[in-house]
Amino acid sequence: MSTVKLTVNGKAVSAEVEDRTLLVHLLRENLNLTGTHVGCDTSQCGACVVHIDGRAVKSCTVLAGQAAGSSVTTIEGIAKGDELHPMQAAFRDNHGLQCGYCTPGMIMSAIDIVHRHSGKLDEETVRHELEGNICRCTGYHNIVKSVLDAAGRMKIAQAAE
């Protein structure tokens, strides 16, 4: 067992975990942040994507200990109070989700995609970049639409800040 200290959604946290514990399990089991999901066991599906120090990472591919000292943001940490993150709002407005299981990982990946492409995105790039996130419900049509919509919203939000 080890003590892992890290920052999650802006709060300093500490958890006692087995050394083999993955970050996703620390989040779900120790911190009860169950919005981050597990959809596979081969790091393929992306349901577990969170941000570590601002970058999208599959939290099933990181030992909890490796995240020590990092700042982790999960799906629970991106809205500002009642105000949704533009990516969350875009997924809702464009029907970018159905069962909701892949959605947190999709949203966390998508935010990173928009950041990395500085707001300049087209459909082909979004589809290529989403390769690490599997959705079985939507056929991706409305997810792609959501990400492109959010890219515009995030640009406007950034300009306003």
Partner: protein, 779 residues
């Protein structure tokens, strides 16, 4: 149509919890004293269990118990059942082999559970499972249909000689043979309908809790039909009595059919929770999903179509072998029979149809309903034959279809179904316009000049859904009725709860069902709450599958609403001293027509519950229930056209365009309907291009992870162009048809028709991988 009424693309109510990470799926639930289960599974496709030694595992840290299949037998836990009886052509019943939840003696597929470890933590259960020693005697295995039916094949069940479960026929064999004898042309095809894994993104999970003093169980599970689960667990598996078992299906992360069935793991979790006296949780991992979730499709078919000299279809003859896996899953028997062969008439006027379906056991995961369930297989047969015929007869494939379209309704096919309504020309027109069919030859020539092969493929599907009239399915062997129930509770303050037997696992019921209420009463959907998925809250209902929630579930809600409205009008009339016939409901108010007198819904509701001033003899309260049994299936139909470009150097196929024109009758929420189509198309395209289960000859599942089984990803798919044509379903008052499965039913034939058109070789199996396409081009 109000802003939130029927026909409005209302943004989903349920989304806020999902996009903020506050969904509540089974694995998110924690109970005090929770233990964790890990199953020990067979590594062999077929073997005798010689011994199971659990002694070392019992000594491992945190272990609470290790349970085996023999203990299940000793506790008289029932075997898994198949709920639809199929009779063979010789009059004998289907040959069902015993399927215990954990195998006591013989394992028949890789992944079958033989024992379970219950421990304090998931890791401890996993560690201890490694210490359980199972001694097997391997037996020869039959890993596919060909291996199962050949002479000298390994026999799976003593009940089923030759591994044949049933040999079933439908239609008039003599008349069909005669049609072929007098045919001007005959077109034939050998078709493999590839085996698929549903792969809902949420793996199956179960949490069971036993309350000893109350002798009461609670099961949280990933189910599309919690009441059916409770019925089966109590009536057949002898685990708990129905009134002592609460089944809760909370947020469920996709189903696609695979979460209809009651699986061994749920049974064992319930049983084990009593054995160990602690709540037990099992959450499957993805490999377990591949190894144990019911697979889909898996047919080998020989199909022939007869034409007269005017290119009118005169006969269809089909022989299909269906692989049902090692055991008969809950509705597996009905999928390749009544859900498949009854749709072989497609959109066409075919006077003579005969089909024979032989279902067999193999040493593979059981096969059952997966999105479309039999109808994608039927549609693929018919639409591949039509396309092949057009090429063979050298006529335009669209024109050949039009020549044979059914245009008069109702239409009785030779294979049970009576199509109520449709306009097949309208959907084909819409699709051809959307893809600029007329301009295709020019595009093909341009592509050719650039060294690319361009093809176009049509698929005109019809399906039967909104299952189903109980009496009709009962006469065909179903063990259950397929009605739906609903209850509408108007609270004393005028807010409304709608309790439904339907279950949403992505379909958006929490929004669409509210839209009906908003439409009827003129109140915002925020005043309505949909309650589903809990047998303690909702009266018995049948659940969600077979695209039935709108046509059957929502109609049940409408029936309950009509009763609520009738009573509320009486109360309003009494309060307003008017005749109830003069009361109209508008914007949440009960108004006396032609006057300015009105009373708001909350006041009517309050009056119903205070009961101070109700009409003489009226019971207090404002709550009504209804059970609705449909009178027929609904028959969604449409035309899908796909244009593809193939790189002959690599065999890679790329989408140029994919258009879908569907007729779903009235649309409650077009945004949600289109989302359903998108998802279905992705699964149909996945089958055509990417997905396929591979077993090796020893019965090892080679494709048991997302590394090995190709799920469609965002860059594998195009954006879709959808449109709708409308014929209102006459079978239900809302005029709706099912929309959940259409995409998966119609898409695969369009894709394969397009690729085979591009490469000029009609022999191409699914999934049409670049390797297969390259070989089809270059030999």
């Amino acid at each position: 149509m109000g802003v939130e009424g029927i026909g409005a693309s209302v943004v989903r109510k349920e989304d806020r919890r999902f996009i903020t990470g506050k969904g509540r799926y089974v694995d998110d639930i924690k109970l005090v004293g929770l233990t964790h289960a890990h199953f020990i599974r067979s590594p062999h496709a077929h073997a005798k269990i010689k011994s199971i030694d659990t002694s070392e595992a019992m000594k491992m840290p945190g272990v609470v118990g290790v349970l085996t299949g023999q203990q299940l037998v000793d506790d008289k836990i029932g075997n898994l059942i198949c709920g639809w009886a199929i009779t063979s052509k010789d009059g004998t019943g289907m040959k069902m082999g015993a399927w215990p939840a954990m195998a006591p003696e013989t394992v028949r597929f890789v992944g079958q559970a033989v024992a379970v470890v219950i421990a304090e933590t998931k890791n401890q259960a996993r560690d201890a499972a490694e210490a359980v020693v199972v001694n097997y005697e391997e037996l020869p295995a039959a890993a596919d249909i060909s291996a199962s039916i050949k002479a000298g094949a390994p026999q799976l069940h003593p009940e089923a000689p030759g591994n044949v479960i049933y040999d079933w026929t439908i239609g008039d064999e003599g008349a069909t043979d005669a049609a072929f004898k007098s045919a001007a042309n005959v077109v034939s095809l050998d078709i493999t309908n590839n085996r698929l894994v549903p792969n809902a993104m949420e793996p199956r999970a179960a949490i069971a809790e036993y309350n000893e003093p109350e002798e009461h169980f609670t099961l949280y599970t990933t189910s599309q039909n919690p009441h059916v689960a409770r019925l089966v667990l109590s009536a057949f598996y002898n685990i708990a009595q129905e009134h002592k078992l609460r089944v809760v299906a909370p947020d469920v992360g996709g189903g696609f059919g695979s979460k209809i069935f009651i699986y061994p793991e749920e049974m064992v979790a319930l049983w084990a929770s009593k054995k160990v006296g602690r709540p037990v949780k099992w959450t499957g991992d993805r490999t377990e999903a591949f190894l144990t979730d019911a697979h889909g499709r898996d047919h080998l078919t020989k199909a022939e179509m007869a034409f007269d000299k005017d290119n009118k279809v005169t006969g269809l003859r089909v022989k299909t072998y269906a692989n049902l896996g090692a055991y008969m899953s809950l509705f597996s028997s009905s999928v390749p029979t009544y859900l498949y062969a009854t749709l072989l008439s497609g959109q066409y006027n075919i006077p003579n149809i005969f089909a024979e379906v032989i279902s067999v056991y193999t040493n593979t995961v059981p096969v059952d309903a997966y999105r479309g369930a039999g109808r994608p297989e039927a549609s693929f047969v018919v639409e591949r034959l039509m396309e092949t015929a057009a090429r063979q007869l050298k006529v335009d494939p669209a024109e050949l279809r039009r020549k044979n379209f059914i245009t008069q309704f109702p239409h009785q096919t030779p294979v049970i179904m009576a199509y109520d309504i449709g306009d097949f020309n309208a959907s084909l027109d819409a699709a051809m316009k959307a893809i600029d069919y007329a301009g295709f030859p020019v595009r093909k020539a341009t592509a050719k000049s650039e060294g690319k092969l361009r093809g176009i493929g049509i698929s005109c599907y019809i399906e039967a859904c909104g299952i189903a009239p109980s009496k009709a399915v009962g006469s065909l062997g179903a063990g259950v009725g397929l009605w739906e129930s609903a209850e509408v509770r108007v609270n004393p303050v005028g807010t409304i709860e709608v309790l439904t037997g339907s279950h949403s696992h992505g379909q958006g019921h929490e929004t669409t069902f509210c839209q009906l209420i908003a439409d009827r009463l003129g109140i915002p959907i925020s005043q309505v709450q949909i309650v589903h998925g809990d047998t303690d809250k909702v009266q018995f209902g049948m659940g969600t599958y077979g695209s039935r929630s709108a046509a059957v579930g929502l109609t049940a809600i409408l029936k309950a609403m009509e009763k609520v409205e009738a009573k509320a009008k009486k109360i309003a009339a009494h309060q307003l001293e008017a005749s109830e016939n003069d009361i109209v409901i508008e914007n949440g108010e009960f108004k006396v027509t032609g006057t300015d007198k009105s009373i708001a819904l909350p006041m009517v509701a309050l009056a119903a519950y205070t009961a101070h001033n109700l009409p003489d003899g009226m019971e207090p309260g404002l709550k009504e229930g209804a059970f609705y049994d449909p009178t027929n299936f609904t028959f969604p139909a449409g035309a899908y056209i796909c244009e593809m470009e193939v790189d002959s150097a690599t065999g890679k196929s790329s989408f140029v365009n994919f258009v879908a024109a569907d007729d779903f009758g009235r649309l409650i929420n077009p945004m949600i309907v289109e989302g359903q189509v998108h998802g279905g198309l992705a699964q149909g395209i996945g089958q055509a291009l990417l997905e396929g289960v591979v077993y090796d000859s020893s019965g090892q599942l080679v494709t048991a992870s997302f590394m090995d089984y190709t799920m469609p990803r965002a860059d594998d798919l195009p954006s879709f162009k959808l449109s709708h044509t409308t014929t209102l379903c006459p079978g239900n008052p809302l005029g709706v048809k099912g929309c959940g499965e259409a995409g998966a039913i119609g898409a695969s034939a369009a894709v394969i028709n397009a690729i085979t058109d591009a490469i000029g070789n009609n022999k191409l199996e699914m999934p049409a991988t670049p390797d297969r396409v390259w070989h089809a081009i270059h030999g």
